[in-house]
């Protein structure tokens, strides 16, 4: 099981670093080219969410992302340290058309893209675990 862990201060610029790393490792782990776009986007969403939460609640604390290839799956976990923000649906306001929740857009994107998603409580904040199918041999075999 090969693992990479990235921790970064809560700056939007570093969300790009996280996307870059996730895409590179996903490719090497054998995630299909067609899915790489989804990995990039979902990982970016989870990290953007964490960065925004940190900027509000704990700008000095780093955000953590772990990337793992395990038993033929590429697994990404994003952990924030921001105290339990409830992602409560806000009342929708719209002129006729139903508009989606802004706050949940990121989660909606992740849910739509990751093959498998879990939102778990972390030691201090929230933890989003996503995974995609990868090569059965993974990076260790490379």
């Amino acid at each position: 099981m090969a693992t990479v862990e990235l921790t970064f201060s809560a700056l939007p610029a570093h969300v790009r670093t996280a996307r870059l790393v996730a895409t590179a490792i996903a490719r090497r782990t054998g995630v299909a080219e067609a899915i790489l776009d989804e990995v990039r986007l979902a990982v970016g969403e989870a990290c953007s969410r964490a960065v925004e939460a940190h900027r509000l609640h704990c700008p000095g604390e780093p955000v953590r992302i772990e990337l793992r290839d395990d038993a033929g799956r590429f697994e990404v976990t994003v952990t924030d340290a921001a105290p339990g923000e409830d992602v409560t649906p806000q009342v929708l306001e719209a002129d006729g058309s139903l508009m989606p929740e802004m706050d949940n857009l990121g989660i909606a994107v992740i849910a739509g893209l990751a093959d498998d998603v879990e939102v778990l409580p972390g030691p201090k904040g929230m933890r989003i675990r996503m995974s995609w199918p990868a090569s059965p041999h993974g990076i260790a075999a490379l």
């Binding site: 970016g44 953007s48 989606p100 857009l105 994107v109 739509g112």
Partner: protein, 116 residues
């Protein structure tokens, strides 16, 4: 890739050309541009996303925010987008029902012409 923004007006329609990545890092610049355009009285906006490589929910949020602003002035904010990977993001968030999405600036202008 960074974000490039450009805009010009044709009659009462303002076309905003966006190129590059719209994400948590660059979306604030798009938001500022949209706010600025609305403040200056441009209430019919067409955002051309043909050269957008990457769009995340922060970018979607800015577009929704822009839409809300122009609607407050009975305006419109519509999109030009044909790239499947960008359209997918609008679909999974349900925003295809919220935005008029066209295959070209011309197609959008025709529709816009009919609206008036």
């Amino acid at each position: 890739m960074d974000l490039k923004l450009d805009h010009h007006s044709e009659d009462n329609l303002t076309i905003v050309d966006v190129e590059g990545e719209i994400d948590v890092y660059t979306a604030p610049r798009l938001r500022e541009l949209l706010i600025d355009l609305v403040n200056k009285g441009n209430f019919h906006l067409l955002v051309n996303m043909e050269k957008v490589d990457f769009l995340d929910s922060t970018g979607l949020g800015v577009l929704v925010g822009g839409l809300k602003r122009v609607r407050a002035h009975d305006g419109s904010l519509e999109l030009v987008c044909t790239q499947e990977r960008i359209l997918k993001i609008f679909r999974i968030t349900g925003l295809t029902k919220v935005f008029g999405i066209y295959a070209s600036v011309e197609e959008a202008k025709e529709a816009h012409g009919r609206d008036k």
